[in-house]
């Protein structure tokens, strides 16, 4: 038992195969059990995973992946082309309701070429496919498990190829993993991991401090001083791919004016937010995508300039009345409902409170609506767009900027919470996907990100850093910007 790692994590696992679960963090945990064909390294490089190399056909519609040999699932069955086809078929079938399927873009099918070669096809040319296949939604689950459990598979303990295997799932709060002694990448040193799900950050930290747990995902930044000087613990951190943005409701006539949107962006003191809400473990967002994503390049800083904001409002015809509320031709600025989730990302609700405070100060009447993530998403998709709510979310798409840009700012997409509609962006996205030369593709993403930012479809807020407190009794945890934290190398310290 000494050699079992006990980890406290902030949200509970809902489904036991990666394609069935929503939150990136949970997907990331399951990554230690189920692997993908490609992987993105912590420094944002695309690397081989279960596939060793890949190429695209001349018509750019067919990709050929060569699979790693000598890999088998923990139930003993081999990992081969049949397994890949089975998994792709499963996630593509609509009746299986795979939440994050959109991440795979125009992927349309899979075909076995030989035991260790598969062909994946896309409906349109899609240069992003290898990167997207690194998303957990495309994790490889043993066909034997599919056979055994059928439609119940999301709730059952399936087999993967990863360094750990699922041992048990105890309602409601605990997942136990044991080491896979036959892992192709070398068996882990620890015997297993117990994950306990605890919502409250203080409770998690208490567990760590009292020795109930060895690792605390994530440390609330404000609690950092409590662990910092303590030799028994250390704080690891990694900049996240996430970008906190607040989508502006383009449906409101007032929001049609870019000046208003810019003014709203200038009314926020990002430095103060980073320093006081996140205790310094966040940076002001300077692009429309997060710094951890492929294709990120700093566009420009957004200063805190309330005077300029006021000027811009005035240019757009809005000036403060005696109550300090913006008014245009005797009509008050429409009241904004600021929708945010609670506890999904460290600091999300406090950030929402503070930002809405700034908005109020700028003369925009703001009400808060903070919800549990599931309800939050439902409201963001259904209500927010119609009711003109401001939706704050920390986007963190599959390591790649294009993925985010082309989903959350393209009108027809359900994730375009603000209802932002810009035909130029659709053209740009098509161009990115049709560019198969890696550097050119990245440059296109950088450019698009920059001009999207300049159109202010959202209030761009912060890029957070994830902090994990661990006991110094264990080393070797590898954190990842995209929350695919790897426990494979964790080992007891000397």
């Amino acid at each position: 038992q000494e050699n079992v790692l006990r980890v406290v994590v902030p949200s509970s696992i809902e489904a036991k195969i990666p394609s069935g679960t929503g939150p990136a963090f949970n997907q990331g945990l399951l990554r230690n059990v189920f692997e993908t064909l490609t992987v993105v390294s912590p420094d944002q490089k695309l690397l081989p995973g279960l596939a060793t190399d890949w190429s695209v056909s001349d018509d750019k519609l067919t990709w050929t992946f060569r699979l790693r040999e000598g890999v088998s699932f923990t139930d003993g069955t081999p990992f081969d082309a049949d397994a890949v086809v089975r998994n792709i078929d499963y996630i593509m079938a609509p009746e299986n309701r795979i939440p994050s399927l959109d991440n795979l873009g125009p992927l349309s099918g899979a075909r076995k070429v030989d035991d260790h070669t598969v062909e994946l096809t896309t409906s349109v040319p899609f240069s992003g496919l290898p990167v997207r296949l690194a998303h957990t939604v495309a994790s490889m689950v043993s066909p034997a498990s599919y056979d055994e459990y059928g439609a119940d598979i999301p709730r059952e303990i399936a087999s993967g190829t990863g360094p750990f295997m699922l041992e048990s799932f105890e309602l409601p709060d605990r997942i136990v993993m044991t080491r896979n002694p036959d892992y192709w990448g070398g068996a882990p040193e620890i015997d297993g991991i117990d994950f306990d799900f605890i919502n409250d950050g203080q409770t998690r930290l208490a567990g760590l401090l009292s020795g109930q747990a060895d690792m605390n995902f994530y440390l609330s930044p404000i609690d950092r001083p409590r662990v910092a000087g303590n030799p028994d613990f250390e704080v690891l951190s990694v900049p996240s791919i996430r970008a906190f943005v607040a989508h502006l409701p383009m449906g409101l006539p007032a929001m049609q004016d870019r000046k208003v949107r810019e003014a709203l962006n200038l009314a926020i003191d990002r430095e103060a937010l980073a320093n006081f809400i996140f205790s310094g473990s966040a940076t002001a967002l300077d692009s429309s995508i997060g710094p951890g994503q492929i294709g990120y390049r700093a566009a420009h800083q957004l200063p805190y300039d309330p005077e300029r904001a006021e000027e811009l409002f005035a240019e757009a015809g809005w000036s403060k009345n005696s109550d300090g509320i913006l008014e245009k031709d005797g009509e008050r600025f429409p009241t904004l409902t600021y929708l945010a989730s609670n506890g999904r990302y460290p600091g999300d609700d406090a950030l929402a409170q503070a930002v809405s405070g700034y908005l109020t100060e700028a003369g925009v009447p703001t009400e808060l609506r903070i919800e549990e993530f599931a309800t939050f998403i439902e409201d963001a998709r259904n209500t927010a767009r119609d009711a003109g709510w401001v939706t704050q979310i920390a986007w963190g798409f599959a390591s790649e900027g294009a993925s985010m840009l082309c989903q959350v700012y393209v009108e027809s997409n359900p994730l375009d919470f603000g209802g932002y509609d810009n035909p130029e962006l659709e053209t740009a996205c098509a161009e990115i996907d049709a560019t198969f030369e890696t550097d050119a593709r990245i440059r296109l993403i950088e450019e698009t990100a920059a001009w999207v930012m300049d159109d202010y479809p959202a209030i761009f807020l912060l890029a957070p850093t994830y902090e994990v407190a661990t006991s110094t009794a264990f080393t070797g945890l590898q954190l990842s910007s995209s929350e695919y934290h790897s426990f494979a190398g964790v080992a007891p310290a000397e």
């Binding site: 203080q202 404000i222 405070g357």
Partner: protein, 292 residues
Amino acid sequence: MADIAQAPAAPSGLRRWFGEAKSLGAAGTIGLVLVGLVLAGVLIGPLVWQVDPAQQQLSQAMRGMSAAHPLGTDHLGRDLLARAMHGGRLSLVMGFGSVFAAMAAGVAIGATAAMRGGWIEAVLMRLIDSLLSIPGMVQAVILVAVIGRGIVPLIVALAIYSMPIFARVAHQTARQLMNSEYVLAAVAMGSGRLRLAFVHIVPNFAAPIITIASFRVGANLLTGAALNFFGLGAQAPSVEWGLMIAEGQRYSWQAPMLTLVPGLALMITTLGLNLLGDGVRHRLDPKTRNSL
């Protein structure tokens, strides 16, 4: 002489019941004072301490006590004293509002059931029974889930879940009264149903109803605060004690005041209300003076 000793409480209206604090007994008097202090702090306080409870100043977050902020500031640098005082308003509105609504509805239902009898009585009381077959907090949580979140739905939920007890007592008392000789006498002299209800029945079960109500306010205050704490009720930027505790709990290591201040405020208010309830019962119903 003996007759006077047997006579129930003096009848001349609410004013007289509350007139002399002395008659509330020691506990009741303490309760009255506590509730008075809280009311003063919550109603008059903000007029004296004119600080905007929503005014945030991140650079001043979680500072201790100072002249500018007598109780310190919260995680967004807002003035804790101002927030505590404003927060109480919503808490009290919640407590009193829900009880008032519950009382009005419960008395109406109970009295109607008792006076109409027959299937109306059966249906109404069966409905009340089914409400009673689920524990209160669970009921409130489910009601909130059904009605939606926000302070108004919360008050409605609290009112619905505290209504059955009023309906039951009203029903029971009204039934007793319906059989009492003075109500029979009123019927015999030709009173209509309305007159019976408003002149003879409702005023005469004021005592048990008011006693229950005075305890209920405290209970609803706590339940409401708990629901706010769980994020099922009021939402920021509203200020409410339960909500303040919820917001402050993450910082209870760094700034215990954030949860201590609203928590103590809640406790003192509820304590005051409960003691006052004791006093009111003491006053209204000398027979049960020692029970409960």
